[in-house]
């Protein structure tokens, strides 16, 4: 990430605005979408103000209406959506009364926008320079070719791209995700707006890049006295970055206030649930004592789950079930013609996973962690090295032996929407491993499926239904049930909770912890999220560019990281900078 070094030069004059006069006033805002099944009210009576220079965060799960609220501020709702009630006042002007032209002037000049996914928000067929120039011309910031060019270079320099002049001619695919997001931030701030809306600006990026991007937004906006509206699903991140946090749930604000008050003294049960379930916050609390009092109905206290699980695992830990020695995987990448290039994805990796415990393999994208998981699952053949599962050499196993060793190890994958065959009923999906391994007869298999559904807290009635009726969290529970069908010793969880909403994620983590205690399972947990590692893992191995750079007991690694890279990952956990002594 050496290219992501910030070289910010700020020459913009800070906005001089009355700090007591709100920049944006949202009054009883209601937004509805017209759909086939009638009108859907996505936002229902939302009130808040944004003052100049202030950072406000809207926190909520998917479907809470947080992004819809942000798009309504810019009057950029999709075609079937409209503001069905209330007002949005920007500098005392009602945006619903502004014409197209006036609204266009507001966008860019008054409100800048940084979208969620930097990968799809730059047009791949135009150079980055073209797209920056386009934004500058659209905002009327400069006239004449030379002036526009100069201004574009300036914008990119401010975005923290060294060598901006040369970079102008490059295309989006030559930029990393972090750099693209910097370009988009540059475009968003290009016209020096008074408010910058950042909609999950870092959720598509690697953890360490996330932090630099958020720092970058903070530096730029603070210097210019620009207000920021940050949309996020992470309460820890919101509390760390914003002075004011708004918690949304099902289109309504459930709680709003100074971030410190929300964090230390949450009043609404939903906010308390979110706080208890957020891994970023739980991971900070684990070290401290977990308060056992004030437990509400339905609150999943991640920190206490983690503690109980860890104690249980420690008490029952056994010998090594999975043993990986000097594992190496080299991919050969075609480079056109007959040339090819070797890429060492996994480089001499060795570790052991002990029975009844959880081992986490952490790293950023491209670190090789998923390749390790795929080799352990027998989906990829190692170039060299040994994998032993319960005494059987997996890398040498073939035919019957491989078939048998697969029974002892089952996967749960990342994407809940892709991991279940849409054409099979839930019962058939969960029963498939039993059928393939010829366990029992049809009747006993049905009974086992029912038992498994019960274990993952799903009603037996869904056995005859199909995956499209289930939510992401429910699908993931079905995937866990399928993995457990053959009573395996090891479950390989490849980013198994990364795609889930905070509360659902906590619920699945709780389920995994319960199942481990109950069945003595061994988990190999692949993730990029160190906060989750803190909650679920007994041991952790940190991977960087195919190598394990640091490994050890989770508590020790978190308390005393030996490598600068591990330290960077730890620092990148949102909320790590907050003071937790309440």
């Amino acid at each position: 990430m050496t290219t992501d070094v910030i070289t910010t030069s700020i020459d913009e004059q800070p906005h001089e605005l009355d700090p007591n006069k709100p920049l944006v006033q949202v009054k009883d805002l209601e937004v509805s979408f017209r759909t086939q099944g009638g009108d859907v009210h996505a936002v229902r009576g939302v009130n808040f103000d944004i003052y100049p220079g202030e950072t406000v965060a809207i926190v909520g799960e998917s479907g809470s209406g947080k992004s819809t609220t942000a798009t309504a501020l810019m009057n950029l709702l999709p075609g079937n959506g409209r503001i069905s009630g209330g007002q949005v006042l920007i500098e005392d002007k009602d945006i619903s009364k502004l014409g197209q032209r006036q609204m266009a002037a507001v966008r860019g000049h008054v409100i800048g926008y940084v979208p969620q996914d930097p990968m799809s928000n730059l047009n791949p067929v135009w150079s980055v320079g073209f797209q920056v120039r386009e934004a500058i011309k659209a905002n009327g910031l400069a006239k004449g070719r030379k002036e526009v060019e100069a201004r574009a270079i300036e914008v990119l320099q401010q975005a923290g791209l060294s060598d901006a002049e040369r970079r102008m001619k490059q295309f989006p695919h030559q930029f990393s995700g972090g750099m693209r997001q910097r370009v988009l931030i540059g475009i968003g701030l290009g016209a020096n707006p008074k408010l910058l809306i950042a909609d999950e600006p870092t959720s598509a990026l690697d953890v360490t890049v996330q932090k630099t991007i958020l720092d970058h937004i903070e530096n730029l906006t603070r210097a210019r006295n620009t207000a920021v509206l940050l949309i996020t699903h992470d309460l820890g991140l919101a509390a760390e970055r914003a002075s004011k946090v708004i918690v949304m749930h099902q289109g309504k604000i459930v709680e709003a206030g100074p971030s410190r008050a929300i964090l230390t003294d949450p009043q609404h049960p939903y906010t308390r649930r979110l706080l208890a379930a957020a891994p970023s916050i739980a991971s900070q609390r684990i070290g401290a004592t977990v308060s056992e009092d004030a437990k509400d109905e339905g609150v999943i206290e991640l920190a206490s789950i983690a503690k109980d699980r860890h104690e249980e695992a420690e008490a029952h830990a056994g010998g090594a079930v999975v043993k990986v020695e000097d594992l190496t995987k080299v991919f050969s990448i075609r480079r056109g013609g007959f040339k090819s290039e070797d890429l060492t994805a996994v480089d001499n990796v060795s570790f052991e996973v002990h029975k009844g415990t959880t081992m986490a393999l952490v790293g950023e994208s491209g670190s090789g962690k998923t390749t390790v998981a795929r080799m352990i699952l027998g989906l990829e053949t190692p170039t060299s090295g040994e994998i032993t599962v319960g005494g059987t050499r997996l890398d040498k196993a073939q035919g019957k032996e491989l078939f048998d060793v697969r029974r002892r190890m089952q996967p749960v994958f990342q994407d809940p929407y892709a991991s279940l065959d849409p054409q099979r009923s839930i019962g058939a999906i969960i029963g498939e491993p039993l059928k393939v391994h010829k366990v029992g007869d049809a009747k006993s298999r049905t009974a086992r499926v029912e038992e498994l559904l019960d274990q993952v807290s799903l009603p037996g009635a869904i056995a005859h239904r199909y995956p499209n009726e289930l939510s992401g969290g429910q699908r993931q529970r079905v995937a866990i049930a399928r993995a457990l069908a053959l009573k395996p010793e090891v479950v390989v969880l490849d980013e198994a909770v990364s795609a889930l909403d905070v509360l659902v994620q906590a619920q699945v983590l709780q389920l995994l912890a319960d199942l481990q205690t109950e069945l003595g399972l061994t988990y190999l947990f692949i993730t990029h999220d160190l906060a989750v590692v803190r909650v679920i893992a007994d041991e952790v191995a940190v991977m960087e560019q195919g190598k394990i750079v640091e490994a050890g007991a989770t508590d020790e690694v978190f308390a005393n990281p030996q490598q600068a890279y591990t330290q960077r990952l730890l620092d990148a956990i949102p909320g790590s900078g907050l003071d937790w002594a309440v």
Binding site: K252, V254, E255, V436, N468
Partner: protein, 315 residues
């Protein structure tokens, strides 16, 4: 700042405090096929096409339900009525040979439909496995099968069928003409299936199937094929119409089916001699052809839309 940012808490009674992520099942089951059926059921055009198709199928299986005349009987022609107008019992009039046009259309339906179905079956038998195996196994298998497909793809299937029918002029029957058309038309289907399989095999449920111990072939048949077959089904319905047209065209050119077999193409061909003086013997079988092909085309396109959930969401 405290005056600007008061700590607001929503009334607790107002907000939904139900369990996290509860299972909410709709009253009716929902699968790809059921949803497609529900989608089709709401489309009037679907019923129009379906009625026509059922009518044609009935005609070809039970021609005697539709006409009392057996055009294959030697006494069915009455030259005195050559190109005669409609009269009671003969609703569409007579051909130049004095045969009943309606009866010939009714008996021709089975030929058209047989050619259509056999051709589609051949196309599917060749195209689906070729495409599926090429897409799923990749590597040299894919290269080999795809190149074979490319060779067939580069031959216009109709031209190839003309050549085959000319060479095999002594063996003209429904089967030969179907093989001649289907044997060269499968490459497009193989491409469609291959593209779909390439996409489906990346899905995590395919990896899950492998890691629970299914063989590669087992995974392909159990998980990959069922999820990649829907575009093929829509394509085959469209291909059925195209095959009927191809047969009619070959027969019209005199290299299709022999005159002893009743087919719409033959009817059109024979009537073309007198088209300037008596167009009706040509127009009626042409209409039958157009309506039939149109019905299959509409059905194919409706199926394609109904089986694509993304397209359904767009409407």
């Amino acid at each position: 700042m405290s005056d600007k940012n008061p700590h607001y808490v929503a009334p607790i009674e107002e907000s939904d405090q139900t369990e996290i992520d509860q299972v909410k099942l709709s009253e009716r089951k929902s699968t790809l096929w059921l949803d497609a059926w529900r989608d089709l059921r709401r489309r009037p055009l679907f019923y129009v096409a379906l009625v026509i198709v059922i009518f044609i199928v009935a005609m070809s299986v039970f021609p005697s339900w539709f006409t009392d005349i057996d055009p294959y009987a030697t006494d069915s022609a009455d030259l005195s009525k050559s190109n005669g107008p409609a009269e009671p019992g003969h609703p569409l009039g007579f051909t130049r040979q004095g045969q009943d046009i309606w009866a010939r259309i009714v008996y021709g339906a089975s030929t058209s439909l047989s050619v259509g179905l056999i051709t589609v079956a051949i196309t599917a038998i060749l195209g689906v496995p070729m495409g599926a195996i090429a897409g799923f196994f990749g590597g040299w298998v894919d290269s080999l099968l795809s190149r074979i497909g490319d060779i067939f793809f580069s031959l216009p299937y109709f031209l190839a069928a003309v050549v085959v029918m000319t060479v095999l002029s002594d063996y003209r029957n429904v089967w030969v003409i179907s093989v001649a058309i289907g044997g060269f038309a499968w490459a497009t289907l193989a491409r469609i299936v291959r593209a779909e399989v390439l996409q489906v095999k990346q899905q995590e449920y395919v990896q899950a199937s492998t890691s629970l111990g299914r063989s590669r072939m087992g995974t392909l048949i159990n998980h990959v094929l069922p999820n990649s077959i829907t575009p093929a089904i829509a394509y085959l319905t469209l291909a059925l119409g195209a095959a009927i047209v191809a047969e009619a065209t070959l027969s019209f050119l005199g290299i299709g089916l022999p005159n002893s077999i009743m087919s719409w193409g033959n009817e059109i061909s024979q009537a073309s001699i007198t088209v300037r003086t008596d167009p009706l013997p040509l127009i009626y079988p042409s209409l039958a052809l157009i309506i039939t092909v149109l019905a299959f085309t509409i059905l194919g396109e409706l199926l394609r839309d109904a089986l694509d959930p993304k397209a359904r969401a767009r409407r």
